[in-house]
Amino acid sequence: MSGIGVYICHCGQNIAGVIDVEALRRRVAQCSKAAVVKTNVFCCSEPGQKEIRADIAEHGLERVLVAACSPRLHEVTFRRTIAQAGLNPYLLEMANIREQCSWVHRGSEAQDKALDLILMGLARLARLVPLQDRLVPVTRRALVVGGGVGGLSAALELADCGVPVVLVEKSPSLGGQALRWNIAVPEVDPLSCFLRPLITRAHLHPRIRVLEASTLEDVRGYVGRFSASILGPTGPCTEEAGALVVATGFEPYTPDLSRYPFAALPQVMTSVQLEELFGKDGRTRHGIPSALERVRTVAFLQCVGSRLDDEYPHCSRLCCAVTLKQALALRAFGINVRVFHRDIRLYDKNQEEALYGRARREGVQFHRGVLKAVEGDAAGGLILHWYDEFLDEDMRFPVDRLVCAVGLRPRSDAESLRRVLRLAASQDGFLLEAHPKLHPLESAVEGVFLAGSCQGPKDVRETVAASVGAAAKAYQLLCKDVLQLDGMIAVIDRDGCVGCGTCAAECPYQAIVLREDEEGALKAHVETAACKGCGVCAGACPTQAADHLGFPLEALKAMVDAALADRAGEKILAFCCHWCAYAGADAAGVSRLAYPTPVRIVRVPCSGRISPRLVLHAFQKGAGRVMVAGCHPPGDCHYISGNVRFESRVPRIRTLLSKKGYDPNRFSYYWISATEGPQFQQIVRRLAEGLETGNPS
């Protein structure tokens, strides 16, 4: 392996605290024929990168392996490093000895596994080919989905930058949830004064086309060249766009009567319904809502629909502040207010004095504890049965009305929308961002940005900030005519292709067409600009004519061989998709969830890359167990349907294994999302137990 440089990272104590990095270096130098094998305290730091570049120049290195953290973190960084030294950036491999080794294992087993991971990486690295990025022309238009305050802000921002925008809104008019919020925050202009001009601007803006009462039915294409099918009142239409901004917002929680039976009582309403009472038409001469004219005491119950241990253990962020705002409005009319809460949660520094302090000064009573029951009383009011935490006592409070401070939930049509947009959901059901700290405005799908509360509960100000931010991200895409895309795509070997068309049928992006070649034979042909590099074609092809340039079959087989070189029968070979399952394994590492060491993870772009022959190969090399893990169907797959394509092959895999004399129960597959570290841990533990007890499953 001349011309290969191996760099083993200490990552401070993250790796070096568990693994004897120097000993590892010596073993790698012995076992492999790498020209250079070095260690570094932080490979990703400037001196670390400099050393790699210097070695490339000095030793004439042609390929580089970095054994450090997850490639999901730093593959781009190191590709750039070697590119700066004149190498093709695709001649890089990373061995994950941190998230998938030092953070979850200990002792000599961790040490052995680290060596295996490096040898596996070298096996792939030797078989990679230099690749070129693709240049894709950009449609310099934007599509904004959702016409609430977020969608409006994003659309106006882009339109002001000179980008033509199509704004799609499902309901008959623009405005979204913000239209329903009538009670003003003290000392602040009403929300409608902010919202109405936005709506008018959008309608009158020369570069915005508003499509009301329209839904997004389908999205095809890829970043720079999306094509959206929209169904409007006058029929379907298609819009082209280079970037999508999703601003579909949230839904207020509707109290589930099985959990909140009292919500059906006439004296009980939600915070949203209270806002409606304050609408223009419902007020008397004195300004008080007519429905509250003879009301003396109103109780607020917090956390309705939120922080529920079993069903929805998430906080909806806004409800405490909304209650305080509403309480102040009621106090202004002389109505007594009691707030029954668990915590009082504010999220903006000014709210402490302006809302909470002021509410207390104006006589709002606060009770911390647990609700026991609510019942109607003979006089038409309510009795609240409450356990008070301070007094450590059960108490009864007679009130006239009860307002349930309902939380924010993802929209009920979120699932179908996610399918159309190919977006994953977080644990709380809202849209999943590319990274919670550093990329909150981007989704995992390139070119699709998240604006506002569709990504998680936000108030209007935060929504506007996020939407304008998302527009800024989209603009960075749309201000250029051409986009540079990854070179890791599929390729078809014309000689091996028999023209069966399986790949074309299975490609989630319709990126493969069958064409007649010079001899009149039907051959598959990849539309390189449309290819997303999932590898489903390669997994499906019966003759192995279709292959993946970044994860070629020979490379995957070589990785399997390296993984199973030693004590194969004790090993669990896990093919994990880059976007979900591999990230889930990383998540287990980040959370330090220890699991048995015999598992060896082979990263693939998508579970759809896995063909029956590859699984067979692993068993032929003696693997104790083989598992494949991908994204949860139907909607989580980064490549739309790669996971279900793989699933459809499972019966054939089992049949093939049986035919060749292997127990099909030694093969299993799972769906693991990027946040499911614990699940990954459980699965590996079960499989390892099975290995030990001899029990196949």
Binding site: Q49, E157, A184, R345, H435, E462
Partner: protein, 589 residues
């Protein structure tokens, strides 16, 4: 004042004052319904000025009707009395910017005490729109803050200054550079990274902080459109919106940045050992060296205060990069916009005398705890109390300084989740430790923060609703004793702890460059930079062209800061477009 101007101003027989003029007033009962517009209209009618009244100008139908080219066909001077320029200004600009024969201005109807005052304001604004009047007087009326500026001689420079090189500053710089806009990023410390670089892990995912931040810092420093000036502070900002002249003072590092390779040979030989300020004073460092392992730029610097000028570093440096006689120098920058990303400061825990910070070495702040458990910290990541032992009991005290009228009356937002995160880190190191968090409210409101809270409870972290009175030395003389009163329990209880972590709040940024401008950006009554308007202008300061992101305008976590950074980039780009466009004569002064 010239005679012509005087005449224009006092011209009683202003021929046909209503010819070509219009005053349009919007009632907007929700906002300024108390303003008696009918009376105003009457008073103005008495002066021969006609007034049009509408109910809601911003309503699409009304607006189209009143602002269309046909509707304003014969109007040369238009005074619109409506709401704030921050609410309706963009809409007016969008609709009227291409009507070149129209001169218009906006009056906020909240700005007058009563109808009489209002009518006076409207009249004078109408008069000021008279080209004869404004030309001779040369008066630039206050105008709408965001309106197009008076024509300037020089073209506005296409460059943005970002003050502060933390995660926010780097993000906004990268977003601006991504739009093709050149950026100068100024950072007072020797390295980029700010507070986020000092964290061990970030909530709620417990990602390694510097691992996710490091590449961003390298990206920012290596981007062709971004110039990083570390070890520099803003000395003075003068000029006016769109044309700021900034004086930047460069602190000497005593090392040639172009020659230094970051090898560390200088610090190996330096005989002077001092506390590392970057590590909150918990770890020693040499007087010369690189401030932390992943610093960007990765170059050495000498802490001259401690330097004894022995010259050993000079001899040890192979590249001859030491410059002991370097002087501070000042450079100047001409910039069209400035983004303030200086972050917030930590509240000084020693002000809370009863908690013993500064008296007991076992009392730390959140940030000091982060440095303690971080692999690059004083113990290389081992959780060892300053007393030298492994802690068996750790107590976190929330709201240390925050939500307290004597100190910081506001909530510092991030401390609850930060402490819960740190509690999880304690258990990672010491699975058997007893961890207690004393709190007022647990405010884990961000996405997935509640999940972290639940996980902490499941792992056995104890949450006690009580803010301790005081921390004292325990009877055994070794541990600490936390005295508190829980609401539902009579009397004072004590908890023995080996380590007490104070969740101190954040204060507004301190160093304020000398603003030599007409109206420096205002600070609110807490001292944070004030936002220009509640709706849609959170990232605008009160001075046009100066933008705010992150901790400098209120306590923020990383996600919020990064979001604001991208939004601010959009606002800055919009501002640049406006100040570099040639203003048309139709725009109001």
């Amino acid at each position: 004042m010239t005679a012509a101007a005087h005449e224009a101003m006092t011209n009683q027989k202003n021929q046909s004052p209503t010819h070509g003029t219009r005053i349009l007033l919007c009632r907007c009962p929700e906002r300024h319904g108390w303003q008696d517009l009918d009376q105003t209209a009457e008073i103005l009618a008495g002066a021969g000025i006609s007034v049009r009244l509408v109910d809601a100008l911003c309503e699409r139908e009304t607006f189209t009707k009143e602002m269309s080219k046909t509707a304003l066909r014969d109007v040369e001077r238009l005074v619109i009395g409506a709401c704030s320029p921050f609410l309706i200004g963009d809409l007016l600009n969008q609709a009227l910017h291409d009507q070149s024969d129209l001169r218009w201005t906006l009056v906020d109807l909240k700005d007058a005490r009563n109808a009489v005052a209002l009518s006076g304001i409207l009249r004078s604004r109408l008069q000021a729109l008279d080209p004869a009047f404004s030309k001779t007087c040369g008066v630039l009326s206050a105008g709408i803050p965001h309106g197009t500026l008076r024509p300037l001689g020089a073209k506005a420079p296409r460059r943005v200054l970002v003050v502060g090189g933390g995660v926010g500053g780097c993000q906004v710089a990268l977003d601006l550079a991504g739009m093709g806009i050149p950026v100068t990023l100024v950072e007072t410390e020797d390295s980029l990274g700010g507070n986020m670089a000092r964290l061990d892990k970030t909530f709620p995912t417990l990602d390694c902080s510097i691992c996710i931040l490091g590449p961003r810092l390298v990206d920012a420093a290596s981007h062709p459109l971004i110039t990083v000036l570390a070890s520099s502070r803003i000395k003075r900002i003068s000029g006016r919106p769109g044309h700021f002249l900034v004086e930047i003072e460069h602190r000497p590092r005593y090392v040639d940045m172009d020659l230094c390779s970051g090898c560390g040979a200088c610090s190996e030989v330096c005989p002077v050992i001092v506390p590392s300020a970057w590590n909150a004073g918990l770890r020693p460092r040499k007087a010369v060296g690189i401030v932390f392992e992943q610093a960007v730029p990765l170059r050495a610097a000498i802490q001259k205060d401690y330097c004894i000028e022995c010259g050993l570093c000079e001899k040890a440096c192979e590249r001859k990069a030491i410059r002991l006689s370097e002087e501070p120098h000042v450079s100047r920058l001409h910039t069209a916009a400035i983004v303030l990303a200086e972050g917030a400061r930590l509240f000084k825990a020693s002000r809370l005398g009863s908690y013993g910070y500064g008296r007991f070495p076992e009392v730390l702040t959140n940030l000091e705890f982060e440095r303690l458990v971080c692999a690059t910290g004083p113990t290389q990541g081992a959780l060892i109390a300053p007393s030298g032992s492994r802690p068996r009991s750790v107590a976190f005290i929330q709201c240390a300084g925050s939500r307290n009228r004597r100190f910081l009356p506001y909530c510092s937002i991030t401390c609850c989740t930060a402490s819960i995160k740190e509690a999880m880190l304690v258990l990672e190191h010491e699975p058997e430790a007893a961890v207690t968090i004393f709190f007022n409210d647990i405010r884990t409101t961000g996405k997935s923060f509640e999940g972290l809270f639940l996980r902490a409870r499941e792992r056995g972290v104890r949450f006690v609703k009580a803010l301790p009175d005081r921390v004292e030395r325990a009877k055994d003389g070794k541990r600490l004793s936390v005295h508190y009163r829980a609401a539902s329990h009579p009397g004072t209880q004590t908890l023995e702890a080996d380590l007490v972590v104070l969740a101190v709040g954040v204060e507004p940024p301190n160093a304020d460059p000398r603003w030599v401008v007409r109206t420096p950006p205002r600070r609110d009554h807490y001292g944070f930079y004030e936002e220009a308007f509640y709706w849609g202008r959170q990232m605008h300061s009160t001075l046009p062209g100066i933008f705010l992101i992150g901790g400098c305008h209120g306590p923020r976590d990383i996600t919020q800061t990064v979001t604001e950074a991208s939004a601010a980039a959009a606002h800055v780009a919009k501002w640049l477009r406006r100040v570099s466009a040639s203003p048309s004569k139709s725009s109001p002064p």
